[in-house]
Amino acid sequence: MQTPGTYISATGHIVLIGWLILGWGLDSEPLEFEAMDVSVVSGEEFEQMMAARTPTPGNAEPTAPAQPIIDDTPPPPPAEEQPAETAPPPEPVDQPVEELPPPPPPAPLVTEATDEPPIAPEVPAAAPSSPNVDVNEPPAPTQADRIASTPSAPPPPDTQIDDIVREEVVPDETAPAEVVTEEVTPTAPEETAPEIALENEKPSGLVETSLRPVARPSRPTPPAAEPDAPTQTAETPVEAPTPPANEASDDAVAAALAAALAAEAPSAPAVAAGPPMTGSERDSFRVSVNRCWNVDPGSVAARVTVEVGFELDRNGLVVGQPRLISAQGDQSAADTAFEAARRAILRCQSGGYQLPADKYDQWKDVVITFDPSGMRLR
């Protein structure tokens, strides 16, 4: 049945399809693409070309002797040449060349820029640093028998070793007869170095270890025992708010108050022992003992911390023998560590420790903790 609709539909279809086929008004540009022109060469020709292109020995050298010249050339030329050089490398890729594509990009840089390869700017930075290492090298530590934290220079040749420095005093012949000056032999402290001098090695210039910061000298431990106990007993009554407990704790608190006030009274006369020892007095006492404390860094006793107690009389002389209170660390060497500490205390008294006489009550009993842990690797 051929209705008019059929005719219209067929016509429309034919028009549409014909329009699509013919493509009126449907033009578009194709995507851009690069065309590379290639020429075919034979094997022999290729070999000849490669032989011709090998750089002569003269071209490879310039990088080495050119480096000292780099220091003199001002920076702008390398900056200027770089943008000029970035332009040529893309071009050889597009141009039809007789060499095999692509020529390695660094090659044009080497042949064109004889004194500015891109890595050059780093070399002048490295070269001056090596002479600097020698300049900054610390002076080699001197060899000395005695190692202590306060170094001292070797004594003049005709002096004897002693702790204090004495000048030579010769009786003056021109002085009047009544003035008699004793002849005193010159003395000076022994040569001391701050650290063990290992055989001289060239340092690599690198920091191989980081030094542990010196610890602050510990403060005298405040007596915290007594306030701790009452705070604990005080807390438990506070947590029990029942009335019967209140009354009982009230009585307990009153009793404790009375006891505390009573305890204050007898200790009041002892307060006359004087003001507490100042930090500098404690420091000078400590320094006068540690001068004689001999630590052997390679032995097992250097891992033991000992507490030694002793008593002093009014002149600062040790009464009786120092006693060992506790030892921590390697117990096998506890005796050796204690003996070294005892020797230190007894050697350095030499006439009595210099301590303030009016504070005798505070220093008549002393407990010193000898801790060699910082000295082990000296």
């Binding site: 028998d145 290992l198 200790s267 002892a270 006492f285 404390w293 407990v367």
Partner: protein, 452 residues
């Protein structure tokens, strides 16, 4: 309800005020009471210096012992000063003399010259028999350190008795064992560098009493003492290839060790019980570590890597082995169990590490390190931390430990065609580097145990 709550709160407030007063009162009383306690100080900074000691002349109990008494006295003083931990006070500084062994000591005189230790001795000689006794005093505490000791022996062995006295003094003062009565086996070298004559030799640790154990007909290397000092293992080129020989020190008799089949065997060490030997064996270009039993000849392979594993050394308890391997590309130190198994690297510094030796104390490993054209002898802990280089020179190598793990002896070679090799020793703290006085060239030392 409300009234009760108010009452409770009022009671609590009252109690709080009372408690505060109590606290304040006790806190005021606290420091006052504690001021009567002992003065407490902490000292962390000491000095490192030699302990001064005085050794007055030993008393000779009969006339013929005078010479020996003087010699013994000098030997003891020299042993102690040679450690670098002691310093002798010369005799011209003494204020009072010790005239008799049993006389009470005037400590004040010795304190005045700052002698911390005093060694008093007496010697008696009866024909070929020598008796030595000594006492050690701690001058500043006015007490004797330990009891008196007496040794008896032959006159010819006077040096050993002197070393034993020095050992006793050393161990009482420092708390460690001594190492003076021990021997060192080494390779004695002579001749120019291109034609070296090498023979095994044994001497006291201080260079005295040198005796030769082999002739110089063949190259010998790296002798190693057994744990009880009766045998020596060494590498010999007698057969044209390096093989391991066991030498008996007493009768100088030797035999070749039966190893696993291989071309070259070297770098041997005894096990802690002296019944087996660990060594390196090279086969077809690959070197690995093996263990052989001395009595049965059975062998066990301990490593099986394509890299070179050599220089094994056992820990004091015999449970681990430290060795040198280049499996990472350069020679480094590794630790593994004594039955083989996985190895753990312990050396991570710059340079190459070799010839590891485990300390008799078990806490340190000594090694040779090559870096930037120089050789160093160093020590590190068994986990690789705390590495310390003790020496630096043109060529230092082959460390060996003293019996107390305190001193390392090694060989040092000088540069050039006429360069010679000699033995040096250094304390593990890096101090007291000195040459061992041996006549002629010497290398590859191995320190034996303390003699009974």
């Amino acid at each position: 309800m409300r009234i009760r709550v108010n009452l409770t709160m009022r009671n609590e407030a009252k109690m709080m005020k009372r408690l505060l007063t109590l606290l304040v009162a006790l806190m005021l009383a606290g420091p006052v009471a504690a001021q009567n306690g002992p003065l407490r100080l902490t000292i962390t900074d000491g000095v490192i210096e030699p302990i001064t000691f005085a050794a007055p002349t030993f008393q000779a109990e009969n006339a013929e012992a005078t010479q020996v008494a003087n010699d013994l006295n000098r030997l003891v003083a020299q042993d102690l000063s040679g450690t670098g931990l002691f310093r002798e006070i010369p005799a011209n500084a003494f204020i009072s003399q010790v005239s008799s062994f049993s006389q009470p000591v005037q400590f004040a005189d010795w304190r005045a010259i700052n002698a911390q230790a005093l060694v008093v001795g007496a010697v008696a000689m009866n024909g070929g028999q020598l008796t030595v006794k000594f006492r050690l005093y701690d001058v500043f505490s006015g007490q004797e350190l330990g009891g008196g000791l007496q040794f008896a022996g032959t006159t010819a062995g006077w040096r050993r008795m002197g070393h034993k006295v020095a050992d006793a003094v050393y161990s009482r003062v420092t708390g460690e064992g001594g190492y003076f009565d021990s021997r060192v086996v080494y390779v004695a070298e002579s001749g120019p560098k291109d034609n070296r004559q090498m023979r095994l030799a044994i001497m006291d640790f201080d260079g005295a009493n040198v005796q030769y154990l082999t002739d110089s007909s063949t190259i010998v290397l790296a002798p190693r003492f057994s744990p009880n000092g009766d045998r020596v293992l060494y590498t010999s080129f007698e057969s044209g290839f390096p093989r391991i020989n066991v030498l008996n020190v007493a009768n100088v008799g030797r035999q070749q060790l039966q190893t696993a089949p291989g071309e070259m065997a070297f770098s041997p060490r005894f096990s802690r019980d002296g019944g087996s030997v660990i060594y390196s064996l090279s086969n077809g270009g690959n070197t690995d570590i093996f263990r052989s039993d001395l009595s049965t000849g059975q062998y066990t392979r301990l490593t099986s890597a394509p890299s070179i594993e050599t220089a094994p050394s056992l820990s004091p308890d015999g449970s681990q082995i430290v060795f040198e391997s280049d499996r990472s590309g350069t020679q480094q130190l590794y630790i593994m169990s004594a039955n083989g198994g996985e190895a753990r690297r312990i050396s991570f510094g710059e340079g190459r590490y070799g010839t590891p030796v485990w300390s008799p104390r078990g806490d340190l490993v000594a090694f040779t390190k090559q870096h930037a054209g120089r050789f160093h002898i160093g020590v590190m802990r068994t986990d690789g931390s705390e590495e310390r280089l003790l020496t630096a020179s043109f060529l230092d190598e082959g460390p060996t430990w003293s019996p107390n793990g305190r001193v390392i002896m090694f060989s040092r070679e000088t540069q050039g065609e006429s360069g010679t090799t000699s033995l040096y020793s250094v304390d593990i703290s890096g101090r007291n580097l000195k040459a061992v006085p041996v006549q002629g060239g010497a290398s590859d030392p191995s320190w034996g145990p303390l003699q009974p």
